[in-house]
């Protein structure tokens, strides 16, 4: 156990950016979970006498223009942002990934299935041709403004990514010998896809998941910023930035800056975690990483020579 811990520490030393990513993501998640314990004030109650207070000991991040504590709201915000982003991303991976697996499996040969695969891929082209943000706003406008709609919008704009990713994976895995063998052994197409193809295609999808959660948070905030997402007074980074940004020109920078910084750091953290998963999921990159760790141990464990 302790040797595993030592390896983890060593990996953190040779790849500090990965360690930073995990620290950020874990810290933000813990903050969101324990928000009621950590925060000194309610995130939605306004203290009407002390509005636009600059940061000080009583209000760590200051107060906004209606007198709500920005520190408390910033800590509560990831509860909404993370939930929406994670749900939307999982939904898009589930829908895009499973359709992509089937499309990839049937994308060559003859018959109606090939034409269906072709049609699905062209539909994905059309979906991706729209600017993501415009597409998301259009969805919110047509389905009505609610948290479910934002989740759905994230799922929709990301689904083609998983569709393509899964399809390209399946195209290469489909020609693996164990896939052919499973058909020789009498498995149906669906049994083959579920049992042999999807599990072997998951690695890059997992890497994409983390990156997409970061993007999902950005999209949620952006929609809320323009008023199409989560509405105030629900604590949410995008709407907080929007509430405070008129005050920035008059010198009260804190209502926008703190939630903005939290948002940036969180997205950064998820991107780093995604990059690390990509390395860990790729056997050759993982070997490189582990050999770097061994090299580091060899160097640091050597007795120091000379004085």
């Amino acid at each position: 156990m302790s040797s595993k811990l030592r390896l983890l520490v060593r990996l953190a030393i040779i790849r500090p950016r990965f360690a930073i990513g995990y620290v950020i993501v874990i810290a933000i998640t813990l903050l969101a979970i324990f928000a009621p314990v950590i925060t000194p004030y309610s995130p939605t109650e306004a203290d009407s006498v002390s509005f636009l207070q600059p940061p000080d000991a009583t209000h760590l991040f200051g107060t906004d223009n209606v007198g709500m504590d920005i520190f408390s709201r910033s800590i509560y915000a990831p509860r909404i942002d993370l939930t929406i982003a994670i749900l939307g991303t999982l939904l898009s991976a589930l829908a895009g990934g499973s359709v992509g697996a089937v499309v990839g499996f049937y994308s060559s040969g003859r018959g109606i299935r090939v034409w269906l695969s072709f049609a699905v891929m062209r539909a994905a082209d059309v979906l991706q041709a729209f600017p993501v943000f415009v597409f998301a706003i259009a969805l919110v406008a047509s389905l009505g403004q609610s948290i479910q709609t934002v989740v759905l919008a994230i799922a929709f704009v990301n689904a083609p990514i998983y569709l393509r990713l899964m399809r390209s994976q399946v195209l290469s895995i489909r020609s693996m010998r164990y896939v052919e063998a499973s058909q020789v052994n009498g498995l149906s197409d669906m049994q083959t896809i579920v049992r042999h193809i999807i599990p072997n295609a998951m690695a890059p999808v997992l890497a994409q998941l983390s990156v997409n959660v970061g993007w999902g948070i950005l999209l949620t905030s952006a929609l809320s910023f323009v008023g199409a997402g989560v509405r105030a007074p629900t604590p949410e980074w995008g709407s907080m930035i929007a509430m405070g940004f008129q005050n920035v020109v008059t010198g009260q920078w804190w209502p926008s800056m703190f939630p903005g910084a939290m948002l940036a750091i969180t997205v950064f953290g998820f991107s780093l975690v995604g990059a690390s998963i990509e390395v860990l999921a790729d056997p050759s990159k993982r070997r490189q990483l582990l050999s770097d760790a061994r090299e580091h141990r060899r160097r640091t464990d050597l007795p120091v020579e000379g004085a």
Partner: protein
């Protein structure tokens, strides 16, 4: 491609050779084509006739590219992509299986007809424990519950003589040696006690000693389970030890088929002689039958496929396809000038 009348007659005789019992599997005039750049698709199997009796082990030898694997896969109705079955019939247990629906075929594959494949480690899903992969065959085909399937998997692992089978059940494919992985693949092929086993070059890439063990095991298990076997190999020597009858495949055609003794003692087709000479220790035999092969992949549209490499080819060989003719009991040769042995 039309068949001469004489050839049809000899083919039907060939199908019933080897006894009066109906054959377990009867392949008739099986033709497989691959699309080619031109208008005419390339014929990879040019009318294969082969019948296997229950309990019989038939060897199939030939160089790479002769169509051995294509034949193995086409018998299951799964010719290697992008190949297509252009004609012919495969009769198995009283049914013409190439005309069955996809789901009926699936119930046969792996259950009544199974294939033991080469490169065993590539044939196993790297993410699943081997015990589960073997058990899933029983679950899918025999409909047994999880616990019973695992018990059967453990039993068949014991039968294929894997050391420490309880522990191997939970091993992943990358933790096995090549020989052990081959045993796992054999276990998967045999767990449902199929009536017909196709061993497709199953021992290539293994050490010679391991190869011998696996072959002995295959023969023993086939006998115990009462399975007939089509044993495909590039190594003529192995088939001599192992098979009741041997067919020689060249360029998608069976050029000679005979019981073991006649084939090895009185080989009649020049190509069979060449194959045997290549494995022979006699320099005299090697010199007289090994020809420098130039342009070996060239296809002949007419005549004997072997004519361009044959040292005794005559003008007629290049124009007319020779029929498969019987020259001894159960001994058929596709050659106008079969070699006579004094």
């Amino acid at each position: 491609m039309s068949l001469g009348a004489a050839e049809v007659i000899s083919n039907t005789r060939n199908a019933s050779a080897g006894g009066d019992k109906p054959p377990l599997i009867d392949i008739r005039n099986l033709r497989v084509t691959f699309p080619s750049g031109g208008a005419e698709p390339k014929a990879v199997l040019k009318g294969i006739d082969l019948a296997v009796q229950p309990g019989e082990i038939v060897g199939l030898v030939g160089e790479s590219g002769a169509g051995k694997t294509t034949l193995a896969r086409s018998i299951l109705g799964l010719p290697p992509s992008p190949g297509r079955i252009a004609g012919g019939e495969v009769h198995f247990e009283g049914r013409q299986i190439l005309s069955l629906s996809e789901s009926e075929l699936r119930r046969l594959r792996g259950r009544r007809l199974s294939v033991v494949v080469p490169n065993p480690r590539a044939e196993l899903n790297p993410l699943l424990k081997v015990g589960d992969q073997i058990a899933s065959m029983a679950k899918i085909h025999l409909g047994v519950a999880g616990k019973e399937a695992r018990r059967m998997a453990l039993e068949i692992l014991r039968e294929v003589q894997i050391p420490d089978p309880e522990r191997r059940m939970d091993a992943y494919p990358h933790e096995l040696s090549g020989g052990m992985a081959q045993r796992v693949v054999i276990a998967m092929a045999l767990i449902c006690s199929p009536a017909f086993v196709i061993s497709d070059d199953a021992t290539s890439g293994l050490d010679v000693t391991v190869q011998a063990q696996i072959l002995a095991l295959l023969a023993k298990l086939a006998a115990e389970h009462g399975s007939a076997m089509l044993f495909i190999s590039r190594d003529v020597g192995i088939t001599a030890h192992f098979c009741d009858r041997i067919a020689v495949l060249f360029s998608g055609e069976i050029v000679e088929i005979a019981p073991r003794e006649p084939l090895f003692l009185e080989p009649a087709h020049p190509y069979t002689l060449m194959l045997l000479a290549a494995f022979s220790h006699s320099p005299k035999l090697r010199d007289s039958w090994t020809v420098p092969d130039t342009d070996r992949r060239r296809e002949r549209s007419a005549g004997c496929q072997y004519a361009d490499r044959c040292p005794i080819a005559q003008p007629v060989c290049r124009t007319l396809r020779p029929p498969l003719a019987e020259i001894g009991p159960g001994h058929f040769v596709r050659c106008y000038f079969p070699v006579r042995h004094a």
